[in-house]
Subunit: 225 residues, 2 copies
């Protein structure tokens, strides 16, 4: 992290890797806080502005979020959230509007098989949270597609998920600074997902060979025609 | 599973929950195999057709795949793949064109931190596979965004990923029938992802309270304003 110095717009653009018109757009939209005015048409910016721009850039280009979602996150950050709040914002944003909209009603859709696993693991979870709603939906979809073999192992998946969630939390704790922390939570969630799934696929590759290789005479025989 | 009986188009539509025009479109496109012709403009279909339509429906509506990808999967299934082949097809399809296109070249981008973890776990992985490429990309993105705290825990994430991959493989083994198995592998992968991530979010909720609750006087104090 660079030391706290004031900079002009051109320097801010260079260091944030964003164009001047883009930064001016974020200023007009209120996503970036105004700089300290030094004359009628000059202002200076500091590391707080740079950090905000890096958060916005990450949310738009890496997480692929629309500006309305970026605004939600930025507003949440401006309200000086705790880490719990920041994680809640990250979860809401990542799960999308669908999950949120449906949890605003008084009827919360629940799942017995999910609730049993939550109880087994002793998780304290909000039944009104988008995360719970997303889990119920995932269970429903698997059920509808007849993939009960996956639901039969829900407890095992939950055990692995618990480990992942614990590592996620550990990494959040090591990061200093609120805006950096929120950026870490949101971006970490967005970028950790494809990492975990890619690792799962690699593990599958390994186990697929172990489990199924003995069914065939060799790798060349794996395609029957 | 219903007993093997022949049926007319109307019955096929009813049981597959697809419209007759949609089924005729799949026939014209060669995604659905032709029925047994009983007269000039009549044909009968059987459970193999129904199973194929359920696979197509799952790939389009649940997995949200474009028809070109559906064709890839259907062609792979028609070639009577082994389970390893089916998983490879599922991985390719789920990882998208980007990962595939870039692995066709001779230059395979590698990652030292990833290779170290793969070696630690003793995974046998294809460096030319889309899964490996996706993992390298995920590592690169985390690195570029300065989220090294996540990369520092790569070994721990890999351990959890290994458990998930093992459960995935177990569920595949319990399913009978090739087309059903492929459908299970592809759909299972598509639908297991949101399930696992939702479970991770629930676990995060739980740990966030455990880890951070002591910093504040109570839940009501978690927002400072």
């Amino acid at each position: 992290m660079a030391e706290a110095t004031e900079m002009r717009m051109a320097e801010l653009a260079r260091r944030s890797e964003l164009s001047v018109p883009t930064i001016k757009y974020y200023l007009r939209e209120g996503l970036l806080q105004q700089g300290r005015r030094t004359s009628v048409n000059q202002a200076v910016y500091d590391d707080a502005h740079l950090e905000r721009l890096r958060l916005i850039r990450a949310l738009t280009s890496v997480a692929g979020l629309p500006l309305s979602k970026v605004r939600e996150v930025v507003e949440a950050v401006s309200a000086e959230p705790t880490v719990i709040d920041a994680m809640a914002v990250a979860q809401d944003v990542l799960l999308g509007d669908g999950a949120q909209a449906e949890t605003t009603g008084t009827d919360v859709k629940t799942s017995d098989v999910l609730d049993r696993v939550i109880a087994e693991r002793g998780w304290r979870c909000e039944r009104t949270s988008p995360a719970y709603h997303a889990a119920v939906n995932a269970v429903d979809e698997l059920d509808q597609e007849g993939l009960t073999v996956i639901l039969d192992r829900l407890g095992d998946y939950a055990e692995s998920a618990e480990q992942v969630g614990r590592i996620d939390l550990d990494t959040v704790e090591t990061v200093e600074g609120l805006e950096v922390k929120v950026r870490g939570v949101v971006l970490g969630s967005v970028l950790r997902r494809p990492l975990l799934e890619a690792l799962v696929l690699l593990a599958q590759q390994h186990f697929a060979q172990e489990h199924f290789a003995q069914d065939f005479t060799g790798p060349g025989a794996s395609r029957r025609r």
